[in-house]
Symmetry: none
Subunit: 229 residues, 2 copies
DNA sequence: AGCAGGGGTAACTTTGCGTTAACACGGTGG
DNA sequence: CCACCGTGTTAACGCAAAGTTACCCCTGCT
């Protein structure tokens, strides 16, 4: 899936071994990877390369991850990246502090590569949605907030059930693109699960009921698309 | 960083060499350092100087660290300091006892100065986080006081048990963010401990019972979130 | 020993999401 | 004009997730 490629990831850890290992793993997946060995350096790099995602150790010399996180979050000139902390066990409190400092997720050491990749994918999917949503939402008037699991349409906030949310998230991730039923099924439901075709219609119906008729358009014989304009 | 300065640290160890060495290291970083050579002395000093942080050896003559820790924790008149034990590696058991006596962390000997500094910074940040959290949550109508382990909702004060407190603390650390069960389990319970899924529900229930129904919202199939507004 | 409270589990209930089934409707081609 | 296809719409049902309650074990205190 070429949507994974091209994302810029910043790795921050004081241990060279870990940096190399992760760097290798992620580059193999097609990401552009940059590194830093402490918080101070990380903040500088963020300004230079404006990454989509930061994977950062909590405990580091010079400036630790939480402090760096706070600084990045406060800088309104930055394109805000997703920040995930790497933590060893027994640092529970640091994790909590991490959340209140503005972290989006955490990943526990020791790192399992496969799990890491899949977490990264799901984190980066947010960006697609958030970005397109943010840029488009002025025109479209819709905001999809995955973190809070709410959708805001014309200043009205909706709390959608899981599947409806995921479906909307998919469609809105690329406004104008027509998703066919096969794609929708495999992206929202997954490749294994087999459900009847009518299921999609029903969820579309519920979405239209809540958001209004104008957001999702049917292309007969093809699929559905999230309305631009 | 300015926030580090001005913190009062109490060192407790029976070996004069260590006291001097640590004293020197920490003073160089800008902390105000006091010392004691046994538990008894430590307890007295705490009352006098009311430190933010205590670094204390476990094994000491007169009164050992664990006993001193218990006494300090029980004294409700004290501004509760953060307590970290200094331990040799072979004292695993003492560490466990230390946590149940109310310790916040432990630091293994031999002490690596840089690591020590960074740990201290992260420990002391708790105080800051707790403080900022207090002000933030005023809007929400809830105050979470980590120092006194107390939650205040609409002017009513609650003494929560540890697990309930930690769970609430996590959720409230980022109002609006949805935490899934996996995250909750690993952040509140830790990664190794395996507890049944229903355990979370039960604690959520107890919290709702005490705080009222409106603070914690369930997002079915996703997780829980602390309500804004 | 006895008691109290925290923490966890087990078992049952409740809820509401996701899915299906059944039918309606409109366009299209034979 | 009607048979068919793709989709819209609604109601109903089953099931998994969350709620709830009671109970047990452990620890600490008296």
């Amino acid at each position: 899936m070429e949507t994974n490629k091209g994302h810029v990831i910043l790795l921050v850890d004081d241990e060279q071994d870990i940096l190399e290992f992760l760097s290798y793993t992620l580059q193999k997946e097609g990401y552009k990877v940059f590194t830093a060995t402490n918080g101070e350096e990380a903040v500088k790099k963020v300004q230079e390369i404006s990454p989509s995602l930061i994977l950062m150790d909590v405990m580091m010399p010079q400036m630790d991850g939480i402090e760096a996180c706070q600084i990045i979050r406060k800088d309104l000139n930055l394109k805000q990246p997703i920040i995930a902390f790497l933590t060893a066990r027994a640092e529970d409190y640091a994790q909590i502090a991490g959340f209140s400092a503005g972290a989006d997720d955490y990943i526990n050491k020791p790192i399992r590569p496969r799990l890491l990749i899949s977490k990264i994918q799901s984190l980066l999917r947010r960006v697609n949605v958030a970005n397109t949503a943010n840029t488009e939402h002025h025109e479209v008037g819709i905001i999809i907030d995955r973190e809070r699991f709410v959708v805001i349409v014309e200043k009205q906030e909706f709390q959608l059930p899981k599947k409806e949310f995921e479906l909307l998230e998919l469609l809105a991730s690329r406004p104008g693109k027509v998703f066919n039923r096969e794609q929708i099924l495999s992206l929202v439901w997954g490749n294994e699960t087999v459900v009847g075709e009518r299921t999609i219609d029903v969820h579309i119906r519920k979405l239209r009921e809540k958001l209004g008729e104008s957001y999702i358009r049917t292309i007969k014989g093809v699929g559905y698309t999230f309305n631009q304009v």
